[in-house]
Symmetry: C2
Subunit: 399 residues, 2 copies
């Protein structure tokens, strides 16, 4: 029996474990310290009341033979997909069909598993800095030498340039907006260029919009399908994790329009075959939880939590700017991407911030080479602690 040797090409990813280890060690050697973590990418607010009520009701249904539900449909129950269709697409003027929506146990699973339906020898364009799962899953699938890095820098507000005339044409293009880790967003006219490029070259865009719920500005698209032509070149990955605080419940969905036809085959049919063979659907209780956010009251409740995180991000952005730092994101996003002072690396500034302010960030270099010189701060903490962290940063670094 031989193993999949592509796994040996993976770089050990110790970013978050190293952050945690260094933090633990600091606390151990400074027992009187009062460390504030602005490194977390996980939500902290509890699930909202409509979701809790829906889950209790669903649990009770599972206790009664007359209302008990066994295997769920692999693609998700109609009751939740119809709501997704209505609230996330139809109400926004986007024409998506019900059978183009695939409910799943989260965007991370979909983002990795979607690779199953593509040939190994496709080239893939991936931004740097980036969410590491895009890189790692492609290496696992044997595409290590097929990765085309799209460098992102401050000069272009971390929007990667399209391949120039004569450059290699990527078969698959990963885009994530609002972006993790930089917190930047892509305006419509920018995304239109990618859609046109993909259609012209018959490339596929994998559009990760896990953070769309943070968008408040009208010109910033929440869905790639707001861009004309996207249905013939883009798959969209969505998540309830940040939208409704479902990180502990596990639910997301992926949209695969019928217009996506490659090698004469609909990707929708391939993904359905993949999911119905290797996946058995999402917990009934979780599906009822997801359904519950799609009501006037549900939307109001999730917006309260989202506004809270947004305000934290805004406060961080304003605070670090006032302290003299150049920063990105912090608007339409829970992330602030801090440009660190000259003379520091991402990791040495991480140490400096921990020692001087007892504040924990995430070193930008952990997201790729182009992340060197940056640090990610997040708006998922409590208000009081976020403000306290900003005050400390101002006191230590303010000029």
């Amino acid at each position: 029996m031989k193993i999949n040797k592509n796994f040996l090409d993976l770089e050990a990813s110790y970013l978050f474990s190293t952050v945690n280890k260094k933090t633990r060690e600091f606390i151990a050697s400074h027992p009187d310290s009062d460390v504030i973590k602005l490194s977390i990418g996980d939500v902290t607010k509890p699930l909202c009341p409509v979701v809790i009520d829906a889950m209790h009701k669903a649990v009770d249904e599972m206790a009664d033979e007359k209302t008990f539900r066994g295997y769920p449909p692999e693609q998700g129950y109609d009751f939740v997909r119809e709501k997704i269709l209505e609230w996330d697409y139809t109400k926004r003027g986007i024409d998506i069909k019900l059978d183009e929506i695939f409910l799943s146990d989260g965007a991370k699973s979909d983002c990795g598993n979607i690779g199953d339906i593509f040939a190994t020898d496709n080239t893939v364009a991936i931004c740097d800095p980036v969410y590491p799962v895009y890189i790692d899953t492609n290496i696992m699938n044997g595409r290590k030498d097929k990765i085309i890095i799209l460098p992102c820098s401050a000069e272009t507000n971390f929007l990667p340039a399209l391949p120039a005339e004569g450059d290699a044409v990527p078969d698959i293009i990963y885009l994530c907006f609002p972006n993790n880790p930089t917190g930047t967003v892509a305006p419509k006219n920018y995304l239109k260029q990618w859609v046109d490029y993909a259609n012209a070259h018959h490339s596929l865009i994998l559009f990760d919009s896990a953070y769309e719920a943070f968008v408040t500005e009208p010109d910033v698209p929440k869905s790639i399908y707001e861009i004309e032509g996207a249905k013939s070149c883009a798959i969209e990955l969505r998540s309830f994790s940040k939208t409704a605080g479902f990180t502990g419940l596990r639910c997301g969905y992926t949209v695969v329009p019928h217009e996506l036809v490659f090698d004469g085959t609909e990707l929708n049919a391939l993904w359905f075959r993949r999911q119905s063979t290797k996946f058995n659907g999402v917990s009934y209780v979780t599906q009822r939880a997801a359904e519950a956010i799609y009501s006037e009251e549900g939307q109001k409740q999730i917006q309260e939590n989202l506004s809270f995180y947004r305000e934290n991000a805004r406060l961080i952005f304003e605070g670090v700017s006032a302290a003299g730092f150049k920063a990105f994101g912090g608007k339409n996003s829970p992330y602030v991407w801090l440009q660190i002072p000259e003379g520091f690396t991402s990791w040495s500034f991480f140490d400096e911030l921990l020692e001087e302010c007892q504040v924990v960030g995430t070193p930008g270099s952990g997201f790729g080479k182009m992340g060197e010189g940056y640090l990610r701060l997040t708006g998922f903490g409590s208000r009081e602690r976020t403000i306290e962290a900003i005050e400390r940063i101002k006191a230590s670094f303010g000029r």
Copy 2:
């Protein structure tokens, strides 16, 4: 962009949809008929009280900032894995380590996804008749020409013969006991031959024990690790679906012992890397549900449901035997595998049973060529309807 062309090698699997379609058509053309479905492989009893209580409690925790849980550990919370370790292994004298247990959203996912960590050019031995997921996932992974069929027939009680001296040595061997669809079980001395074979040839056994909870006889192993030497050659796949009626909740687990070393690499490390990259853990509510069955009261409650299904299977087995049919399974299993009368194919007998008795089974030929001549009946219906179905079969076919 090129698709994964291996998907085009998949045979369209219409087994259950054809069964459902034929049933619907029969009902439509016989509106006064009273059709009984003994075809379902899904549980019908509601979740037991300890599980319901645990889920309500977990939902309430998710409503409170102080007890809210975000991203779960990819491998599962210790609280549930420690219980699995204690009740499913340690109490039964099996030495498994906590970090060898990987909680998941179900055995179907694991059974498909585990293929990610193996090289494409491994040969795989798969029984016929069989649960179609083994075949389909290997075809998707490009192993269409690497499949070695292990024919199973009545002469050996549907236990496949080991490869003979000189036969091709399979790199990976799929075994499922208690078996779906035949309902037969493998005694220890038989499994010991496979374990010895795998160790001698450095092959890997994928042992699917999704139906272990139905086992009542002491000589029938519930775990492959009851067999000496299995830890160096076998991965075990387990499910809460049939054990505790979790088909609608989605939970299972996979055991990957550290002793499994191939190409100098621990499979445990590879599977951890795969799961932590492409999976983000199981719903906290579901994990608390799973934990709840591991108590004296929890075990008592799940045994009530299991005994109910077992008794249905026993009644079916006795009933069809009394009607003159040769049958397999029905003991340590929810499935009865009926040998159909001469002159019928699986599908023509399906039609005959539907027309004569208004009873729905699953044609054996849907599980592979060797399933031709058989029909699967299941013990997951209600007692009253199961007895009624047996009476009809006796009346129509009894000699």
